[in-house]
Amino acid sequence: MTSSIRTAAAAVVALGLGLAAPARADELTVGAFGGSFADNVKACHIAAFEKATGATVALKLGNSSQFAAAVRAGAGSPDMDVIFIDNSLAVQIRNEKLAEPLQRAKLSHAGEIIPNAWGVDDSYVVAMVSATALVYNPKLVKAPPTSWMDLADPAYAGKYAIGDISGTSGLQFLLALNKMKGGTLDNLDPGFEAIKPLAKGSAVLYTQADQLLSLFERGEIAIAAWYPDRAGVAMDKGLSLAVAYPKEGSVGILPVVQIPKGSKKVELAHKFIDTVLSADGQKCFSERAYIGSVNKGVTLSDKVSHIAPTGAALDSMWFIDPDVLAKQIPGWTRRWQREVAR
């Protein structure tokens, strides 16, 4: 690709993401997911970072694949200095040689982080632990669900929801089902067979996590393969929900922080990531977002650890090799488009 194409592509992607204001010398541009995620990043990380460094942070909102597209389009001169991104796409960026390796020496909290949080060659570090699990309305579901297949219970016909494969939960539910039915990551036939009828009967194949809020609120669905952290936040707002981790094991979601190659503010970016990894930052984010922490020094409150993946739920959780995911997701997505969502 010539540089002019890249510039043009960068411009197109930049337009898609909303034009960023011209960055000042002491301004760090951080890509983060929208909604309550961005609010929590502001409250837990940005405030502390700005206070400690005197620099300011400009937030850019998007989802993981949009950030990956933007980093590729930037091709070495990215328009973001730090991105929050799903681990499989962080591996993709690393494989495209567009990730700036993290320098643990520059991260004062590096030693407090669980060892397997680091990406290959330190190309990223996991920032939090979430999951795809079962979320249900206890007013409509009397006995707490225990298995992924409880979604197929005739009692919930038309009153359950699973995600489209474009969202993490949709993909992970497919993979969990596949594993249950004897499939492997090289052979998804059992998974696709099992999910076809489930997808057809789903009240909606949601593409945005918060689509389920109104469905739960109106009682249109009783149970869903969804995110415990979203459920926790919704419960704070008064929704009647509960979280169950299926006995087959839930699937882990690992949003990471990464520095795109070519960032002009690598030093400052490390300071921001250090803030994210700090016990204070982790604790604050976990408590607000109902999400697991990667800092060994953090103890979650009872309220949060009841919902976030901890203890036995964490031990039985399936963490899928992000490298395999990065290579396989496009093919699985195409198959889904043709066989499931057609």
Partner: protein, 280 residues
């Protein structure tokens, strides 16, 4: 005269060339690169794989036909609904002209996302229409009106009808009333006057409005994303997904250029047909 025309169109042509045509063409080579999932676009590669996949894959073909069919259907509905309305605006009582025009233009003042959300509120399984029908006891289970052809047609016709009407109003106003009056005095029926004189004379407007609506429909992204969802895909949503979700830019580029080429061919053909019709 001719040179004046070029000079007048020059500035716009230049802007279009620099800011639209050039960036669009710069993405053309991307379609001939190899994409390796997990690794990215192979630098310096040259392959026809992406184009071959589009031809050989019945899913891509299905979406392509669906997109073109949707474009034709929306255009036809807009024309059928828009012509009488445009007629009313152009020939009807003068005091109705302004209010009617405002009503036509009014939806265009609202953001596309808001308008699509409006339709979601109306068409959803627990939307206003389904709730009303259920409460009246007319239906037992909700009628599915979203994530399928119905929702898409409703949403797109609503959005593009104004373009058609505005084009047709201008065309109908341009028809010389003397010609129609002359035909009437020579014994033509109203029906014959309309079919033999008015309709052919408004052909350029019909063509311009139809091309506009057709092109806008097949390239629409926001409304199909919201009302079509993950199960009812059109080319624009497919291209977006290839670029932004699967990161397979070569396939995305190839799909985009196939769509553009077909759209250009259809416009060219329509132009030829309409020209003949207008002449006879």
């Amino acid at each position: 005269m001719k040179r004046h025309g070029i000079a007048l169109a020059g500035p716009l042509a230049l802007v279009l060339a620099v800011f639209f045509l050039a960036p669009a063409l710069l993405t053309l080579p991307t379609g001939f690169r190899e994409y390796v999932p997990g690794q990215g676009i192979t630098a310096g590669s040259w392959t026809l794989d992406a184009y071959r996949d589009i031809v050989s894959d019945d899913f891509y073909r299905e979406v392509l036909w669906r997109t073109l069919g949707l474009g034709l259907a929306v255009t036809a509905i807009c024309l059928l609904l828009g012509y009488p309305l445009a007629w009313m605006i152009a020939r009807g009582p003068a005091q109705l002209r302004m209010p009617l025009l405002l009503l036509v233009i009014f939806p265009m003042m609202l953001n596309l996302v808001v308008r699509s959300f409006g339709w979601i509120a109306l068409l959803a399984n627990r939307g206003l229409i389904n709730n009303l029908l259920t409460d009246l006891g007319l239906i037992a289970a909700p009628v599915k009106m979203m994530f399928n052809l119905t929702g898409m047609l409703v949403g797109l016709v609503h959005i593009y009808l104004p373009f058609m009407v505005l084009m047709l109003v201008a065309a109908i106003q341009n028809v010389p009333r003397d010609v129609e009056a002359a035909a009437m005095t020579l014994g033509s029926t109203r029906r014959h006057v309309f079919l033999a004189i008015t309709l052919p004379l408004t052909a350029p407007g019909i063509l311009a409005g139809s091309i506009l609506v057709f092109v806008l429909t097949i390239s629409a992204l926001v409304t199909p994303r919201m009302l079509g969802g993950p199960t009812y895909r059109v080319m624009a949503t497919l291209i977006y997904d290839e670029y932004m979700q699967m990161l397979d830019w070569p396939t995305g580029s190839a799909l985009a250029f196939v769509l553009t080429a077909i759209a250009l061919a259809i416009i060219w053909a329509a132009n030829r047909v309409a020209r003949r019709w207008a002449v006879t």
